[in-house]
Amino acid sequence: MYQSEFEIEISLENKPAARDPVAETIKRDLLAKKGYDLISKVRSGQYLRIILKANDEKDAKEIVTSMCNDLRIFNPVTQNLNIINVKKL
């Protein structure tokens, strides 16, 4: 099948039980110091942008998801994998 290039952006965020002290600190500092009271939530995580060859968007997502699972790119005990965006290049 004809293969194209895709770009997938993923984020790895801590599961709620594992807490997110980095985000908690940022939110506390923002509200406490600069009065950004419109901000109700902050989440932190790691971001990866992956460019790969795949058949279509669905295929690309599947490849990246299995890769992250197989290689433990994210820690399944403490993190969730989110696919933020997929686009054909």
């Binding site: 039980a17 594992a18 433990r72």
Partner: protein, 234 residues
């Protein structure tokens, strides 16, 4: 047959030479420093994964090292009951390699912490703790940025008696002050179901000589003495 222990050296390990010094010079057991790609389980009676920053702790502490062939070799030792000890970064590697349950996250304070703390012995039925008594309080230092232990299955850990050490004060009380990193239930070290594999965040190799210890104790030595004797008795 002489007993042989291996200290696996990953790129970025820092406490490998420290562990070597204690095992060879203080305990007196033949210990080799083995480059991770060259590690062969058949040659050794026990293995230690030392502290440091294997592979720079890139992506996550311990994750890249967990994929090293050294861990495939160690898995054989895991299955046949030979003792495997993971110290600090070694503990992180063991959880990522799924030898041990749970994970180590960034310290609650978001800062690296280097200080002497106390741990209470919870399970003295492992190859590393059989010379200790349950309830003993040991003086030992920590030095880490990602030591906050987390598991999504605490109940199982408790029921199976896999918790080996908890941070405590000098009197054995599990206070918040005694916990240097925010670990769940003050957990400092755990073992697998079979008990032959143990991981802990504190550094016993830094607590094995009186001269290095603020109160001149040598509690770290108990770990290695226990390990040696366990191997002898097998």
């Amino acid at each position: 047959m002489t007993i042989k222990i291996a200290v696996v050296q990953f790129p970025g390990a820092n406490c490998d030479l420290d562990a070597m010094h204690v095992l060879n010079n203080v305990i007196g057991v033949e210990t080799s420093l083995v480059w991770h790609n060259h590690f062969k389980e058949a040659e050794f009676d026990g293995v230690i994964l030392p502290g440091g920053f294997a592979f720079g702790d890139y992506l996550r502490a311990g994750i890249i090292a967990a994929h090293s062939p050294a861990l495939d070799q160690a898995r054989i030792m895991l299955k046949d009951g030979r003792p495997i000890l993971g110290i600090c970064n070694g503990f992180q590697i063991l959880t990522e390699a799924e030898f041990l349950p749970g994970a180590l996250l960034q310290n609650e304070s978001l800062k690296f912490v280097c200080k002497w703390i106390n741990i209470r012995v919870e399970n003295n039925k492992t190859p590393f703790t059989h010379k200790m008594k349950n309830g003993d309080v040991l003086a030992i230092p920590v030095a880490h940025g990602e030591g906050r232990y987390f598991t999504d299955n605490l109940k199982e850990l408790e029921e199976n008696e896999q918790i080996v050490f908890k941070y405590s004060d000098e009197n054995g009380k599990y206070t918040q002050n005694a916990n240097p990193n925010g670990s769940m239930e003050n957990i400092a070290g755990i073992c697998n179901l079979e008990r032959n594999c143990m991981g802990l965040m504190p550094h016993p190799e830094r607590a094995s000589e009186a001269i290095l210890s603020p109160k001149s104790t040598t509690h770290g030595k108990l770990f290695f003495d226990s390990m040696l004797e366990f191997i002898k008795r097998r």
